[in-house]
Symmetry: C2
Subunit: 201 residues, 2 copies
């Protein structure tokens, strides 16, 4: 129970890089995103870039308009965001419960590594890295528990973070995740769900 595909899938690495930059607020809302520019930057042709942009469009980060390309999507309304938060929580609680019953030693190792990476990013106070490590940690138990629902979860989470990133108090983020991971290690479901609920807001 442990695989982290490092393969390139339909331009996924390009996709991850762009997503990270979007989450860290590198592009303004409504700012158009040019295929050729990105292709030059990544040293590829426009094909793989288009794949990545299409992925992000499906995730809801970008929005597409025929013959005009993609631009950064407008943020969710408060109402929409709260719906998304509840959906994500429902899904992630299911995954966390499943994960807790199945996780083995190597999973604990992986989680420890991911938590360590998050702490490190918090210490460096680097917003884009914190956002990425935060997602990567949660993503681990989701992917392990239900690969089927991983992309659904990712879409919800990314859209959630985009609205307004609560990612400013780095100490708090570090503590929250430390609590979740500790509860997982103790296989204490109730505690884990409690801390998860406190974190996913």
């Amino acid at each position: 129970m442990s695989n982290l595909s490092s393969r390139i899938e339909f331009g996924e690495n390009i996709c991850d890089v762009i997503r990270r930059e979007l989450l860290s607020g590198k592009f303004a809302f409504d700012e158009p995103i040019r295929e050729q520019k990105l292709a030059n930057r990544f040293g590829t042709s426009r094909g793989p870039v288009r794949d990545a942009l299409l992925r992000l469009t499906q995730e809801g980060v970008l929005v597409y308009e025929a013959n005009k390309g993609v631009r950064v999507n407008s943020p969710l309304s408060d109402e929409e965001r709260s719906v998304v938060v509840e959906m994500r929580l429902h899904l992630e609680k299911f995954c966390l419960e499943k994960f807790l019953t199945r996780a083995d030693a190597s999973d604990f190792d992986q989680i420890s590594i991911l938590l360590e990476r998050l702490s490190s990013a918090c210490n460096r106070a680097s917003l884009p890295e914190v956002a990425e490590c935060d997602l990567a940690l949660h993503r681990y138990w989701v992917a392990q528990a239900s690969p089927h629902l991983e992309s659904t979860w990712l879409g919800l989470s990314v859209r959630m973070i985009m609205k307004y990133s609560r990612l400013t108090n780095y100490d708090e983020i570090e503590r929250e995740h430390s609590n979740i991971v500790q509860a997982i290690m103790e296989r204490d479901l109730k505690k884990a769900l409690f801390f998860l609920e406190a974190n996913v807001i």
Copy 2:
């Protein structure tokens, strides 16, 4: 408040055709899907077909493996499906409420047309058409209430239907949707949500 983009977006029409066939069970689980074959069929090159396949991969209908292309995804487990159902319900109830307060006469016209189309498909007892019209009707109020969340909703709904389509008792389907639409026309939120909940299972 009424727009139905008929534009081709990243090969969306190809995408819709393939999705319909997948939902109607034309392809077996795990069956590989060949780009060139589809390109020949649609009279295009492989580019637009790849776009469509990537979309469906993001939706969760297809699953992708590097250098091997896509194949029909395996069905959700019962547990996963019930999580998806609850997420979809949560989202769609939010949209239905919003739609009910904002819908105008032209929206009612559109809904009537879509309901009529569904009834017609039920009478012809054509499974692929029933599935498509069913989705199209629900999709209308979701898209009107929250364009942001339309693709999220679509992914959940498609994945839900794939598991096992309850779409066998055509009379019941027709009645259920007639009830929902009637409640909408009367702007009776409680009744509309009640019938929706009975339908989305």
